[in-house]
């Protein structure tokens, strides 16, 4: 199966291990990821906060590029990229918006491009049976709190998701790997990613709530599907500990990293040593590396 791949800016920098593990996992599952050539940034939060037209034109540009590559489906691992691409599609249904955007692009925007999050590719296109088939190292009941954040499911009008308040796709994948997915409250609560660099106080407060809830259900690890959530949950733990006198040290892993481990991919190839809250000790303790 060949599918378009839009890594987005984060996966080339702060989310490098998400890129590495996604590619490896898709490789094992027989999914060929064709990176959209010459892709540009989707504009992310700043664009939709300051320029409506460009916030649609930038994602649309990538759809045009994907079409040039002969792609009909494009997947994005970053929840923010995924959301911006989906929102653009939704807004392009308005003929006037479409006219303006096509003027900006000097090109026609394809109407039938299917936009998927990488989790959708795994649950819908590949299927859980195929995932379970590839497991060579059972995750041995590791307790996982699956964290979706905002944009993987919301707003449902845009994402088309049914279980937007209590999604369970990631849990199903984790169960297929032999992990124990946990029930917890804040799986779709916001970590404040759009203010990561501007209003850090908000981020620390919101992220602390998420970590606290995961700790309350005794999670061994929090699984995520977004590089922005990961940067906050993984990177901000020391600042949170300092500010709130807590002592969080919870491993935060991309769900693709956990899949890679279960598939027997070498930890280094998954980028497991690039985390800021180190995961080595936890994985060694569980005899997973």
């Amino acid at each position: 199966m060949k599918i378009g791949y839009y890594p987005g800016c984060s996966l080339h920098s702060t989310g490098i291990e998400y890129d590495l593990s996604t590619r490896k996992v898709c490789d094992v599952l027989g999914v060929e990821l064709a990176e959209v050539s010459k892709w540009v940034c989707c504009g992310s939060s700043p664009a939709h906060q300051c320029d409506e037209l460009m916030s649609i034109a930038l994602p649309a540009k990538n759809m045009v590029l994907a079409q040039k590559d002969g792609l009909k489906e494009v997947c994005a691992p970053c929840a923010s990229c995924y959301s911006r691409l989906k929102v653009a599609q939704e807004r392009l249904k308005d003929p006037e918006v479409k006219k303006d955007v096509e003027h900006v692009l000097a090109a026609e925007v394809p109407e039938d491009m299917e936009i998927l999050h990488i989790l959708d590719v795994i649950t819908e296109k590949v299927g859980l049976d195929a995932v379970a088939d590839k497991v060579v190292q059972n995750l041995g009941g590791v307790k996982v709190a699956c964290y979706y954040g905002c944009l993987m499911t919301r707003p449902p009008k845009v994402t088309g998701k049914r279980d937007f308040e209590n999604p369970t796709d990631m849990e199903s994948v984790m169960a297929a790997l032999g992990a124990e997915p946990l029930d917890w409250n804040l799986k779709t609560f916001c970590c404040g990613a759009s203010f990561a660099l501007t209003k850090t106080d908000v981020v620390l407060e919101l992220t602390k709530k998420i970590l606290t809830d995961a700790e309350a259900v005794e999670a061994d690890v929090i699984a995520v599907g977004c590089p922005l959530c990961h940067a906050n949950l993984d990177g901000r733990q020391p600042q949170i500990n300092e500010k709130f006198s807590t002592d969080f040290n919870i491993p935060i892993m991309y769900f693709t990293e956990l899949m890679g481990l279960a598939f027997g991919v070498k930890p280094k190839e998954l980028g497991l040593f690039k985390h800021l809250t180190e995961v080595d000790d936890f994985l060694k303790e569980r005899a997973l590396i």
């Binding site: 984060s10 920098s13 320029d51 034109a57 003027h103 900006v104 707003p155 990613a193 209003k199 908000v202």
Partner: protein
């Protein structure tokens, strides 16, 4: 207590109309059920709730709607837009308010978000992709906090997560897009 007669009550719908024209969202559908306010994760940081903000826009209370910090503390989490029984995309209304403030250069409690957005869009225009080191560097420089998040940044560089060189691949397509968009706005 001063009693106000009907002749003194003025509702100005210019702002609501502008929001509708730009975003397609009709704020008059809001019946103040407060569902948006109760689910808002950023509520405790805001001067007013998202529900109150909707009322301000309905009533044309421009100062309250635009100049306070409420719109600027919205983290765009889409919880409100997901739950509104009247199907109003509140997050889109808030984005629209922010866009109006930035376009018209209205003074508001934006903290450094206005600056951040500008730096980002400049990078978009000339580089076409985000470049973290430059973004953080210039933001800290302009806000006069050169050492903000320093420890975090150093760790990320050590782990090979932040590149120090901008990823210039093909800058011209985005430059052309921005100039055509500018032509359109005129």
């Amino acid at each position: 207590m001063k009693v106000i007669g009907p002749e003194e009550i003025r509702i100005d719908s210019t702002l609501a109309e502008e929001v509708a024209r730009r975003s397609g969202e009709n704020v008059f559908l809001c019946y103040q059920c407060r569902k948006c306010a109760s689910g808002c994760p950023s509520r405790t940081f805001m001067d007013s709730t998202p529900t109150e903000l909707m009322r301000y826009v309905q009533l044309g209370m421009i100062d309250e709607a635009m100049k306070g910090n409420t719109a600027w503390f919205c983290v765009s989490c889409q919880t409100c837009s997901t739950r509104c029984p009247q199907d109003i995309d509140i997050a889109h209304v808030i984005d629209t308010l922010r866009i109006i403030v930035q376009e018209k250069k209205i003074k508001a409690e934006t903290n450094n978000i206005r600056l951040f957005n500008r730096i980002w869009m400049i990078a978009m225009k000339y580089i076409g992709r985000m470049y973290e080191a430059g973004l953080v560097g210039s933001l800290n420089l302009f806000t006069g906090k050169p050492f903000k998040d320093m420890a975090l940044g150093v760790k990320m560089i050590r782990k090979g997560k932040i590149k120090m060189i901008p990823p210039i691949r093909n800058p011209f397509p985005t430059m052309k897009m921005f100039s055509r968009a500018k032509g359109l706005k005129k």
